[in-house]
């Protein structure tokens, strides 16, 4: 303590805790969007630290597509119980039925884009004025332009041309009724920062982040887990490989990577030397068009 020096992870952590506390200080009904992936797990860790010895003063919200990895759901339920935090789950399946939404079809029919409808309904149901999310600016081009406090209209829409300027570390969360702010406390973290932080803090992760044997469908450069949610056609190449997940999304659109990494140390070493970006290696849904994320965000996606 005598040197008054912080390393980069301490600085990032302090910034994120400051943002968490701004949410608690500025909003009436915030929520933390939790998927069971490493980024939202990091958010929970930061929220715990921000409010200690008190409890996290907002619930976790999971927008469940029904296409989850069972390991991620098991992990979710376990930490909710351990931490004694409130969990709200809303199902995309229910929104599809109640709103008569059209399910996407195809080989890897993903409900990813439909999540936005369930999210907006959930925001309305509980009157959430702020939703904390684990998006990072290094993930994707449209996200690089996102503010830390991102104001959305009542349709959840993001207007990149009308963003509030964010100066110093001052966040303006003032909104009108019906509007909502998406808050991204780990905006300034890159993938490796998250892994290094998880390593440093000794945070537990769902088992699918570590190498395991899995039956996968070889789809171009991607390995997609065989599950009831994807269509296996005749002639598809199905193999069992030693894989791990670099990100955790839906089973329909998240690809596995070949790996023998069985510990966080191994993973950090692998990520350190990887030649392929996180989204490029793991997300099938971003490959559709150059502006896929930009379009989804304009439609209320996080």
């Amino acid at each position: 303590m005598s040197s008054y020096k912080l390393d980069y992870l301490d600085q990032l952590e302090s910034e994120s805790i400051h943002i968490m506390r701004e949410v608690a200080g500025q909003f009436e009904k915030p929520a933390l969007l939790f998927s069971g992936g490493k980024d939202s797990i990091t958010l929970v860790q930061l929220a715990l630290k921000a409010f200690r010895p008190g409890k996290i003063p907002f619930p976790l919200v999971h927008i469940d597509t029904g296409h989850n990895f069972p390991e991620a759901i098991a992990y979710r339920d376990k930490i909710v119980e351990e931490l004694g935090v409130k969990l709200i789950v809303r199902y995309v399946e229910d929104t599809i039925k109640s709103r008569g939404l059209k399910e996407p079809v195809g080989k890897f029919a993903s409900r990813n884009a439909l999540q936005a409808y369930t999210l907006l309904d959930t925001i309305e149901e509980f009157g959430f004025d702020a939703c904390i999310g684990g998006a990072r600016r290094d993930e994707e081009k449209a996200r690089a332009k996102e503010r830390i406090f991102s104001v959305r209209d009542e349709f959840g829409a993001w207007d990149p041309k009308l963003q509030r300027p964010e100066l110093w570390n001052l966040y303006n969360g003032k909104i009108h009724k019906g509007e909502n702010v998406r808050v991204f406390p780990i905006s300034n973290w890159v993938e490796l920062d998250v892994w290094n932080y998880i390593k440093r803090e000794g945070v537990e992760l769902p088992s699918i982040y570590f190498a395991h044997d899995r039956e996968v469908l070889v789809h171009g450069e991607h390995l997609v887990a065989v599950s009831p949610f994807i269509r296996v056609d005749e002639g598809d190449e199905i193999v069992t490989k030693r894989v791990r997940y670099r990100t955790v999304g839906d089973m329909t659109c998240t690809a596995a990577v070949e790996s023998t990494a069985s510990s966080i140390d191994d993973i950090v070493s692998e990520i350190n030397i990887t030649m392929i970006s996180e989204r490029g290696e793991t997300r099938i849904d971003d490959q559709v068009s150059e502006a896929a994320m930009e379009d989804r965000k304009k439609n209320g996606y996080f």
């Binding site: 303590m1 008054y4 020096k5 912080l6 390393d7 980069y8 301490d10 600085q11 990032l12 952590e13 302090s14 910034e15 805790i17 400051h18 506390r21 701004e22 608690a24 200080g25 715990l48 630290k49 921000a50 409010f51 200690r52 010895p53 008190g54 409890k55 600016r137 290094d138 081009k141 449209a142 690089a144 332009k145 990149p160 041309k161 963003q163 509030r164 300027p165 964010e166 100066l167 110093w168 570390n169 001052l170 303006n172 003032k174 909104i175 009108h176 905006s187 300034n188 890159v190 490796l192 920062d193 990887t274 030649m275 392929i276 970006s277 490029g280 290696e281 150059e290 502006a291 930009e294």
Partner: protein, 415 residues
């Protein structure tokens, strides 16, 4: 190994090669992955360009790609073994003063790009004036496109002389000059073999080694309370912790503090970081402070120390950058936000407008428009705890919020 963090902004326009420079930094530090490179190669081909266009790495939105412009501040990240870097990529055109001010507000360093063929131009002055207004501690003047002036030492020397005139006028400190070619990669990460006459550091050396630790003020303690932690559980029945981020100074158990703006003295009972009690915490740590006295403290209060008190005033002068399309007219009321404090205020008078190209002060102004920088007098509804921006940057920057539209309409440097 200790790895720290540097935030910097690049100022310049597309024509100066700013995007190419950022692309080059990312590329030469190995921060661009093969799939991202492949995507850029495909786009370069689509646009009918032969070589890889490094500038495409910084293009974000489709709207920008279609129009070939940058409409907002984008953030880019890379790291070396020594540091993590956060780049605020702000457009350099005149209509985007607001974006540059935004990007500059958080930056430890600014790279001002000068086109070697053009030398010091109006835009260079504008960017330097903004750097000085925002008190960016370190300035790097990167003279780009040296390849297009035959890597001439004379061209570099002349620009240096020209620029030093501006620096002197603005009182800019810690300026470094470097001749580069972002396109060819000279002096970015690799020392240039084309300019043996330049014996200074490469750009990445400068970025890795600039001393930012001493930019943090550790003498004037400022702790704005963001949130009060009261677990009210059985075992923590009387616990009352003030959560906030130390923006400057240090806080130690047993030290005397003053709760502002009420000016109530107290003593620190405990300092906690991440839920663990520590002897001392310091800027920029997030912490929880507990006091020996039971005082009514809320979000917006500031804990300072009696020997280094901030100002507590209601009549404040501020340089502000207007960021809204609707003009600022004296008499208008806004919310002023400084850290966790929000207070109503009225803009009483516009004293002058600063010409960001010439530094001339234009008086007799009746209103301020988008991208104008003006000196104003504000009156707040209750006392505000602050420091002059020039004296303590971390506690002198505020924003104005429109009371009904709720948008952020100005960035203020309080005086």
């Amino acid at each position: 190994m200790h790895m720290d963090l540097l935030r910097f902004i690049t100022a310049g326009s597309v024509d100066d090669g700013k995007s190419t420079l950022i692309g080059r930094l990312l590329y030469d530090t190995g921060s661009i992955k093969v799939d991202q490179l492949a995507a850029i190669q495909k786009q370069s081909k689509n646009k009918g360009e032969g070589e890889i266009d490094l500038a495409l790495f910084t293009d974000g939105l489709r709207a920008e790609r279609e129009q070939g412009i940058t409409i907002d501040v984008a953030y880019k990240y890379f790291n070396t073994d020594k540091r993590k870097f956060i780049i605020a990529d702000a457009p350099g055109h005149i209509q985007y003063t607001r974006n540059m001010v935004t990007g500059a507000s958080n930056s430890d360093l600014i790279i001002i790009l000068v086109d070697a063929r053009l030398g010091v131009i109006e835009q260079t002055r504008r960017h330097s004036i903004i750097a000085s207004l925002l008190q960016i501690p370190h300035v790097v003047v990167a003279i780009n496109k040296m390849d297009m002036v035959s890597y001439s030492a004379d061209v570099f020397a002349n620009i240096l002389i020209e620029y030093n005139k501006i620096a002197e006028q603005l009182g800019l400190k810690d300026i470094k000059f470097i001749p580069i070619s972002a396109l060819k990669g000279d002096n970015i990460v690799q020392p240039s073999t084309n300019m043996p006459w330049y014996e200074g550091e490469t750009l990445i050396d400068i970025l890795e080694n600039v001393d930012v630790i001493h930019d943090i003020n550790l003498t004037h303690a400022r702790f704005p309370v963001q949130y009060v932690i009261r677990p009210q559980s059985d075992d923590l029945h009387d616990y009352r912790g003030y959560a906030g981020k130390i923006i400057s100074g240090t806080y130690k158990k047993g030290e005397k503090v003053v709760v502002l703006p009420e000016c109530i003295p107290s003593t620190i009972k405990a300092v906690e970081v991440n839920g663990v009690e520590v002897d001392e915490a310091f800027a920029p740590q997030s912490a929880v402070i507990r006091l020996t006295d039971n005082i009514d403290i809320n979000r917006g209060n500031v804990l300072a120390k009696p020997e280094t008190m901030p100002k507590t005033e209601q009549e404040i002068q501020a340089m502000l950058c207007w960021m809204d399309s609707r003009p600022l007219v004296p008499g208008n009321k806004y919310l002023l936000q400084l850290h966790s404090k929000r207070v109503r205020c009225v803009v009483r008078e516009i004293h002058h407008k600063l010409d960001v190209n010439t530094l001339e002060k234009q008086t007799g102004i009746t209103e301020a428009g988008l991208n104008d920088i003006v000196l104003v007098s504000l009156k707040t509804a209750s006392p505000v705890v602050f420091d002059g921006y020039k004296e303590l940057r971390a506690n002198g920057g505020a924003i104005l919020i429109d009371e009904t539209a709720h948008s952020t309409v100005a960035g203020c440097m309080l005086q």
